[in-house]
Symmetry: C2
Subunit: 263 residues, 2 copies
DNA sequence: ACCATCGGTGATAATAATGAACCAACAGGA
DNA sequence: TCCTGTTGGTTCATTATTATCACCGATGGT
């Protein structure tokens, strides 16, 4: 945790769509690391293209290296385009915002968003980091992961993102049991006020949970009819995703899916 | 150079389209770093999502974090899609492979490729790292950069990629002078045998050189007619790129361009 | 002119990285 | 079966790297 590379890499997470350029002092203040230390790390990361400083201003931003790395990964294991298609189908059919995230360390990395075209809709930023414990996607990913990931997540204090966030580990473990039985997870304003999310897991070829697709609606709009509609659509699209990505859902999920919609 | 974060980040560059998954020992062998050290760094980078190990095998690969970071950068500063359009215009018009690279540390990161549809063509891998001293793109980027970048590149020994690669720093500095006058750079098999490249710089809003677009042909096919055709197309597309990306070419490049095609 | 803050630097004290040896597991071959 | 050479991963004493504080010049607002 206190390794230097960890500190250096954690700096990357402060760059977001909302704040794509940050200065040295600001970065030092947020990370709680000394200015001189941050500076040394920034220089190194600039040398490797992960960051770059705009010649003009003295601000740092994500560099061309991340574009290159993403391209390498995407050409070797193409996923984002496949996810994006599914998301657009979901948002078009349901009229609500759909998004996809992949397991990235001990959190989720949002790699795709398709917003609904309604005036009132859930809007989330591309590239956002989602916590595991307070989102439907996180719950469903943990529920179908080996205990190792769950332990890692629960070993740290769970931030109360809203007044409804589950911060008690034993209660959360019970929730995970339920989720594992149903095959999907729901989040009623546990990550953000007025946002209701429903998520379904996506798997790798060896049964590992790689991420999740989810539909998010304004909380007041989530009726039971819409719930059923969303869940059915998610089951259908998750199966398509697993098929086209070569994912093999584990037995636990298959039985949950068959329980929901018996053939 | 011997900082730990530098060593950790350098591990990322061993992952390529051709070899997207690498094991611990292999990575240690190539980087020349001790196995234990590499392992610690890999674990940290997995925790931050830059890497991930496939649950099945015990191989490491680029993680979902790089997809997220690329998305953050791309939504804040969209460039790849703009470049890609230009590349497709170039390859369609000229019938040869076009590619774009951005300055990434002390090298170039290829962020876009559009191959020609001819049977014989130059084929390069997306996400490839191009050296500064042996490619046309590198030459033109250095020629229009402040001396700082050039010094950094020339401070290290210049690898002889082919028998024609310029490895002498003073000769190369002279070449940069020439390139700065013409506004474009040519590379006759200095990076790869049988590949002839012509490159043109792309600039930032403050006149900094951000990267280059280039056309690569089999060396034997490069006639003087084709040369002129390529250069004219590159001048035109580079101007379009600078316009749509808000780039402001420095005076040196503007005079070079006007010298080539006086109004 | 002033004060605050910016990005950046350097020397010393303290921490974290290093690397050889070691382990268990697996694969292939004799 | 036994041997051998891999693999991924771990341990721990030594040591070299890193963090820290104070400082600097520049910038910008009052």
């Amino acid at each position: 945790m206190s390794s230097t590379v960890a500190k250096a890499l954690s700096l990357l997470d402060y760059f977001s769509e909302a704040e794509p350029e940050i200065g040295l002092s600001e970065l030092a203040r947020r990370s709680g690391v000394d200015k001189a230390t941050v500076h040394r790390m920034l220089v190194v990361m600039c040398n490797y293209g992960l960051l770059e400083k705009r010649g003009d201003a003295r601000l740092y931003r994500l560099g061309a290296g991340v574009l290159r790395l993403a391209r390498v990964r995407e050409t070797a294991f193409p996923v984002t385009s496949v996810f994006q298609q599914v998301l657009e189908v979901l948002s078009a059919e349901l009229g609500e915002t759909a998004h996809a995230s992949l397991v990235s360390g001990r959190a989720l990395a949002t790699i795709g968003v398709s917003e609904s075209n309604r005036g009132s809709r859930v809007s989330l930023m591309a590239g956002e980091i989602l916590p595991m414990h307070s989102t439907a996607s996180g719950l469903v990913v943990m529920a179908f992961s080996n205990g190792e990931l769950v332990d890692r997540v629960l070993s740290e204090p769970l931030a109360a993102k809203t007044s409804r966030t589950i911060t008690d580990t034993s209660i959360l473990r019970a929730r995970l049991q339920e989720v594992a039985l149903t095959g999907y997870a729901e989040s009623d304003q546990t990550n953000e006020d007025d946002v209701y999310g429903i998520a379904m897991p996506v798997f790798d070829s060896d049964g590992t949970t790689t991420g999740a697709i989810a539909v998010a609606t304004p909380a007041h709009r989530m009726t039971n009819d819409l719930r059923q509609q969303v869940i059915a659509a998610l089951f259908r699209e998750a199966e398509k995703l697993n098929y086209s990505l070569g994912g093999r859902p584990p037995a636990a999920f298959r039985t949950a899916a068959s329980r929901y919609r018996p053939d």
